[in-house]
């Protein structure tokens, strides 16, 4: 192989890798990925995640075959964890990293090695320039005045002398140039935090019956429980309703953390106020009745006027005087606006079911109107509850919050602050001293132009000695 063609292949290779590099750095890729992410994300908001095609088809009457196809082809029922969506996110991250690597060194140099000398060429690139000729005073006097002027109106300048010419340079908000990169980095940090949470954390749930303790929780979608190295006991569960309605106002559980049988932490948790122990957090999420309720009745036999008291569990047949029996079949803590109510029936001594009827705790004489053989009054009931807790362990969450914090700081820097720079050149002329002022801002030029205009007028006034 001759040298020439080898060089050409090398060039072509370089050409191709450059092209690939440029592609990954490009804004076009950023815009494309963002729009693609926006469009594809819609799929998972229409197709309920975590459901099956059969459930969706039954619920909405959609074509099952099509839903099955979406499930198989694009994993539409868990799309945010599918390979293609995660790849798109990955592409987004790679794009962020590449473009930052490409642009950052230049910005770093602009901030750390500012052009202290406002050369002729630099002034030609500025759109805000002013020239003044000072008739009186030496170059040193003019320099001192200009330095004091910038110090008062803007910020103390750095002074450079070169071949009898004096150059002043003053800047503000240089670090706002990093805002974009802080924002980009913050997104990557959030990704890292999310990954940490996915690998080392879990989401689970557990139901604890009042008075009992648990030391394991059930991960979502998992079969095996996760063992905790401590136990949690629920001493009491409470639900409060808004007056005269079934709208829950608040529900809460008295939780106790136990280590080796010792109580180490006690807290009443509510919705929006969880308990955290050893990095594991317990959230009040739901509640329900635990086991059957027990009901206390006073029963009067209409024929004899004889009154007895009896206790019944739901579903249990309890004997009545005279060979009949009764059973509670249903219970509501709040039946319409009437308060606690049971549905029950009486069986004849032969075992034949009577018609079901309702007994209300708050209206003890209500059942007498039914005209039955036995008159029931509900004296009270006991219902144990279980409290439903979400359990989460997420060691990555602080990384995510750090990312969020940086994102807010970074985007404020990127959007609302600008790097403003002023150059002053002071040089002796054949008659007097020439002063040239120039300035630029890397963002929000109109506002800077206004600032520069007033600065220019003040400088004229200062140098002419008024």
């Amino acid at each position: 192989m001759d040298n020439k063609s080898e060089i050409q292949t090398e060039r072509a290779k370089g050409f191709v890798t450059d092209r690939i590099w440029d592609f990954f750095c490009s804004l076009k890729l950023a815009i494309g990925t963002l729009i693609l992410l926006a469009l594809t994300s819609i799929i998972g908001t229409v197709i309920e995640q975590g459901k099956t095609p059969e459930e969706m088809a039954a619920k909405h009457g959609w074509n099952l075959e099509f839903l099955n196809f979406l499930d198989k082809s694009i994993n539409a029922f868990d799309m945010y964890h599918s390979w293609w969506f995660l790849s798109l996110m990955g592409l987004f991250a790679v794009n962020l990293i590449c473009c930052s690597i490409k642009r950052f060194p230049h910005v770093w140099k602009t901030v750390n090695e500012p052009k202290l000398v406002g050369a002729e060429g630099l002034f030609r690139t500025l759109s805000n320039v002013e020239e003044v000729v000072v008739q009186k005073g030496s170059i040193d006097e003019v320099r001192d005045k200009a330095v004091a002027f910038l110090g008062g109106k803007f910020v103390a300048p750095r002074v450079t002398e070169q071949d009898g010419t004096i150059y002043l340079y003053a800047e503000k908000g240089a670090w706002s140039r990093f805002g974009v990169y802080v924002t980009h980095a913050s997104i990557l940090i959030i990704f890292i935090g999310a990954a940490i949470g996915n690998v080392w954390g879990y989401k689970a749930f557990v139901n604890i019956v009042e008075g009992s303790a648990v030391d394991q929780v059930w991960p979502r979608g998992g079969k095996e429980p996760i063992k905790l190295d401590f136990a949690v006991r629920c001493d009491n569960f409470d639900v409060e309703f808004y007056d005269g309605s079934q709208r829950p106002k608040e529900f809460s559980s008295d939780l106790v953390v136990l280590e080796n049988g010792q109580e180490v932490l006690k807290k009443k948790i509510e919705v929006n106020d969880p308990l955290t122990y050893k990095g594991i957090t317990f959230y009040q999420s739901s509640y329900g009745p635990a086991g059957d309720a027990t009901f206390r009745f006073r029963i009067r036999e209409r024929a004899t006027g004889q009154t007895i008291e009896a206790t019944a569990r739901q579903g249990e047949h309890v004997p009545l005087p005279g060979g009949a029996s009764f059973a509670v079949t249903n219970f509501a803590e709040s039946y319409d606006r009437f308060g606690p109510a049971v549905q029950m029936h009486v069986n004849t001594p032969g075992g034949r079911h009577g018609n079901p009827f309702i007994v209300l705790q708050n209206y003890p004489d209500f059942d007498a109107q039914r005209g039955g053989e036995y008159i029931f009054s509900l004296l009270g009931y006991q219902q144990r509850f279980y409290t439903g807790l979400q359990v989460a362990k997420d060691p990555g969450v602080w990384v995510v919050w750090l990312g969020c914090f940086l994102m807010v700081i970074g985007s404020c820097g990127a959007f609302f602050l600008s790097h403003r720079r002023l150059w002053v050149t002071i040089q002796p002329l054949t008659k007097g001293v020439g002063v040239k002022l120039g300035g630029s801002a890397h963002r929000n030029q109109p506002a800077f132009a206004l600032f520069f205009d007033s600065l220019r007028k003040d400088l004229n006034a200062t140098l002419s000695g008024n």
């Binding site: 804004l27 963002l34 969880p274 959007f415």
Partner: protein, 282 residues
């Protein structure tokens, strides 16, 4: 002095301001433009008082909650936010004609709230009883409002640039002469989104923080969350498009309009059409 009286004043003021703004465009009389802005201020103050009174009324009923608890309250707060952003932009940039494209929006939200939404003050369900609700809603809605203003400005841009191209670049007369130049409109669009985007970011973050505090998950791809992220993606694309040749002007205006369409879907469509954790919000 009830909140509903002040809500009526608000709606009336926004309607009158809208009409006067249109008169301003046709009459080209600066005084008329000033009056329209003044009426907008009256409406904004009435809107503020109304929300304050409603807050008091909820407390009087024994509900310790900010007036951001249901769809009605969020819609009137949205109208308030739109006026806030619009009036701030008016103070800073003084392009009166923009009012003719923003006030109809604010008026539409108010009239919808008053005609067809349930205005009863109901207590919050336990899941919403948190100070995070206030931070989350305020940041989100100021973001949405800035996007609404950007959308209005984008429509003006498309109308004006279309007419200018049709008349092959020569200055257009009539109402359009009262619009700011296309360059200014393009810039205003960008400036509004520059306010809206960080607010939306804060809104998403406060939402995530709250979700983590209340449920133990800062992100669960619930439809509302996902739609807020979709909106975020669109405006992120818009902000990057500013630095790319061929994406300024028309395409930027369309991106801004589709961003606002996604915003409205995120706000209303999700609650009305999709199911998820936020479904109680409507």
């Amino acid at each position: 002095m009830t909140s509903s009286l002040f809500f009526n004043i608000t709606t009336a003021a926004y309607f009158i301001a809208m009409v006067v703004f249109i008169v301003y465009l046709t009459s080209k009389n600066e005084k008329v433009g000033f009056i329209a802005t003044l009426i907008s201020w009256v409406g904004f103050v009435a809107n503020t008082v109304a929300i304050g009174l409603r807050w008091q009324e909820a407390y009087a009923l024994g509900f310790q909650q900010a007036p951001l608890s249901n769809l009605y309250e969020s819609v009137v707060f949205f109208a308030w936010s739109i006026l806030l952003i619009y009036l701030l932009f008016d103070l800073k940039y003084k392009y009166r004609a923009v009012g003719a494209f923003v006030l109809p929006g604010a008026f539409a939200w108010m009239i919808w709230a008053q005609w067809s939404l349930d205005a009863t003050i109901a207590p919050l369900v336990p899941a919403l009883q948190s100070n995070w609700l206030t931070y989350h809603v305020i940041t989100c809605f100021i973001g949405y409002a800035a996007f609404a203003v950007a959308c209005g400005v984008s429509i003006m841009y498309l109308v004006k640039v279309g007419k200018e191209e049709a008349s092959s670049g020569s200055p257009v007369g009539g109402i359009l002469a009262m619009f700011p130049s296309v360059k200014v409109l393009d810039d205003l669009n960008y400036k509004a989104i520059m306010v809206g985007f960080p607010m939306l970011t804060l809104g998403i973050i406060t939402g995530a923080a709250w979700a983590n505090y209340a449920w133990g998950t800062y992100w669960s791809w619930d439809p509302k969350e996902t739609w807020s992220l979709i909106v975020w993606f669109i405006y992120a694309a818009f902000l990057h498009a500013r630095f790319t040749r061929g994406w300024v002007g028309r395409r930027a205006a369309w991106l801004s309009i589709s961003g606002f369409a996604a915003t409205i879907f995120c706000y209303l469509g999700v609650n009305l059409l999709l199911s998820g954790l936020h479904s109680y919000g409507g």
